[in-house]
């Protein structure tokens, strides 16, 4: 619907209302990052990744840690979820600058810095002579705590209390799952964390339709 430059096409109130609604819908589809899809992708990745680790450690007496195959599976699903996220966010945020882009960069950097810190601390705990079980509990729970803090903090920029609630749930899962021990911590994390994200995705899609 391209009119001539400088020439204003006439329109009545009803047509203006239709154009307004249509433009709103189109802009929302093109420019808004589809959080339900992101939640679903990361929910599946979490379930599959932590689930694979749990399958590799269940039945271990004493706890020896995940197999290389399970760790590769975890890395693969994390990489796949990251690629899908980059594509989804890139599509919506292409050409968009300003505060939102800055906030996304800061949150990503904070998450990456936190993840490196977790790995360094895990090495330090291991170096200090902690048992394989303690290191296992830490390795499973610490990334969930980090995700909880980052997701809860990101709610301030949106602003969205449901995202804050999701971040707080991750904190509960991260802190509480440790009590399950080094083997079951992976199952608790996969089910409570992954399922929560899938639930958030389903609720998000439902709310968008209302």
């Amino acid at each position: 619907m391209e009119d001539e430059p400088g020439r204003d096409e006439q329109m009545d109130a009803q047509r203006a209302s239709d154009i307004l609604q249509d433009a709103r819908n189109r802009a929302a589809r093109a420019l808004v990052i589809r959080r339900p899809v992101l939640f679903a992708v990361w929910g599946v990745a979490w379930l599959a990744g932590d689930g694979a680790i749990w399958l590799s450690v269940r039945g271990q007496r004493p706890y020896a840690g995940p197999t290389p195959e399970a760790l590769m599976t975890l890395l693969f699903v994390l990489a796949a979820a990251t690629i899908v996220s980059v594509i989804l966010v890139g599509r919506a945020a292409s050409g968009i600058g300003g505060l939102s882009a800055l906030r996304r960069r800061v949150l990503l950097l904070a998450y990456l810095a936190g993840f490196v810190a977790i790995l360094v601390l895990e090495a330090a705990i291991d170096h200090a002579g902690a048992s394989r079980g303690v290191v296992g509990v830490y390795g499973a729970a610490a990334p969930v705590l980090l995700a909880g803090v980052v997701v809860a903090a990101s709610a301030a920029a949106l602003p969205d209390w449901s995202v804050f609630g999701l971040g707080c749930w991750f904190l509960v899962v991260g802190a509480g799952s440790g009590f399950a021990g080094p083997v079951a911590v992976w199952a608790v994390s996969a089910l409570a964390g992954g399922a929560a994200l899938l639930l958030a995705a389903a609720l998000g899609r439902r709310l968008r339709r209302l």
Binding site: E2, P5, G6, D8, A13, L20, G97
Partner: protein
Amino acid sequence: MSEDQLDPVIHAPVRLRITVTLSTLPAGDTVSFTRLQDLMALTPGNLITHLRKLEVAGYIRMDKTGSGVNAVTAVSLTDNGRAALENYTTTLRKLLDAVSPDQPK
């Protein structure tokens, strides 16, 4: 009430679509000229004509950075533009209510 009460700067199909699209972005965000052109499906000449009218009215800002092939124009809705669109929407709703008061909008 009549359509004359609607802000003439916004009350044109292309400028209405541009203003609504820009209002979808949170305050403080900008969209590049090329992405906006893609979203609006307009030629550069047509888009710039409408953007200039909105800029003259103080409804949008255009900030150019870089030069030559690296030049990027960032477009954003100003606070005045956001308020003008809100007024436009309110007036439009009243007009439609006056025409058919029983129909839900």
